[in-house]
Amino acid sequence: MCSKSQRSVAFRFHRILRRTTNRPCFPRLRSSFDTAAFFPDRREGSKKEMECVFGLVGDGFALVAADTSAVHSILVHKSNEDKVMILDSHKLLGASGEAGDRVQFTEYIQKNVHLYEFRNGIPLATAAAANFTRGELALALRKNPYSVNILLAGYDKDVGASLYYIDYIATLHKVDKGAFGYGSYFALSMMDRHYHSGMSLEEAVDLVDKCIIEIRSRLVVAPPNFVIKIVDKDGAREYAWRESIKDAGVSAA
């Protein structure tokens, strides 16, 4: 496809949805550069690290798994929060980070990806979507940064499945396996040991399960439930939930 021209979408700022409201800015001292602003989460005690997102690329597909706990300090609001957004027919966006920023930013990216498809009649390539996402994060970085880490997985007919690691400070890298949060210490090690390129779906899901077991058994604030989503030539869809705690239903009075 014409992915070369699609990569220029990152520079065509006038074509994206413009924000209608202003996001709050950090108070800035004009005369000095504050490197602490690059680590906004340190001030709140790194609660973003407790959300685990990890993903890997297999043979013609990519998997993204994320925990499903919505946590505020010591309270778990819900344990079936879906953090892997289906961006369009063949793209997944797994995000971890501050709850408000995560939902805001991923919805913003999703709407812009849809807008491109409506305006141009063809969907964005995965690389183009990843570069657009990085561009938006980089633009916001020195004004009012988003604290959202992203794993963007997609399938293109010419390239196959691909996975992009996008940091909250807009570092973009194409990877075969990636992970965020405290769970990344366990997930990345398990994947380093068992991953090889061209894994079949059964092998890949088995590896994801191994990572989830490791996170559950070794992380003190382990999230109980995970969602696994897959993207391949047939599209992006939910693959499975791995639940160890089900939300108690509201019982009749």
Partner: protein, 239 residues
């Protein structure tokens, strides 16, 4: 930990005889965790001009995109490629624009200028140019790199000989050489040949990054001569 050490990097460039070599490590990390071992830090601006960017990876990518944009505009207007000296001034200006909120990266620029004379320079994150005749380094492993390059870069043997004879005081190398009748052709044997330069820069890079936990995981070396570009990946201690 300093923001310059967030991602970890090492970049070095060296001058040879009508050629230059630029090398970098391949690690992308987040503090002490390694994310990837194939991160690209050296970028091509045009066939005879390369820039290596060390420091915060996000600014490496943003700055590279801005510089390529400026160079492409220059190519459209001037219908030719930028000279390395001009490009170095451009990078310096782009960095100083952000004096009070800088791009947190230190570029290393290497190119072949007029008559294929090699040119290298480095600058700090706000654009203070540092031109050098032999080698330039930047990144978290820069201190080790200075030591390794200084010792491994082929010393200027004729200068030492002249100094021993007391001839170089206040004279250029050519004048010194003329004093003892060394032929002009022999003076150029002092600079490294491309193959030798590749060996030197690889050894310097590998030995330096082995002492730095934030950089390493292989090396990427580009050797540029007027006729060809050789790109090689080095395997090093993977830790």
């Amino acid at each position: 930990m300093s923001i310059f050490e967030y991602n970890g990097s090492a970049v070095v460039a060296m001058v040879g005889k009508n050629c230059f070599a630029i090398a970098s490590d391949r690690r992308l990390g987040v503090n002490l965790q390694t994310i990837a071992t194939d991160f690209q830090r050296i970028f091509k601006i045009h066939d005879k001009l390369y820039i290596g960017l060390s420091g915060l990876a996000t600014d490496v990518q943003t700055l590279y995109q801005r510089l390529v944009f400026r160079h492409k505009l220059y190519q459209l207007r001037e219908e030719r490629d930028m000279k390395p000296q001009t490009f170095a001034s451009l990078v310096s200006a782009v960095l100083y624009e952000k004096r009070f909120g800088p791009y947190l990266c230190m570029p290393v620029i290497a190119g072949l200028g007029e008559d294929d004379v090699p040119f290298i320079c480095t600058m700090d994150c706000i654009g203070a140019k540092e031109l050098a005749k032999d080698f330039v380094v930047s990144g978290t492993a820069s201190e080790s790199l200075y030591g390794a390059c200084e010792s491994m870069y082929k010393p200027n043997m004729v200068t030492y000989y002249f100094e021993a004879l007391g001839l170089t005081h206040g004279k250029t190398m050519e004048q010194g050489a003329n004093c003892i009748g060394v032929q002009k052709e022999n003076q150029y044997k002092l600079l490294e040949e491309p193959e030798e330069l590749f060996e030197t820069i690889s050894q310097a890079l590998l030995s330096s990054v082995d002492r730095d936990c934030l950089s390493g995981w292989g090396g990427h070396v580009l050797l540029v001569t007027p006729t060809e570009v050789q790109e090689r990946t080095l395997k090093s201690r993977m830790d």
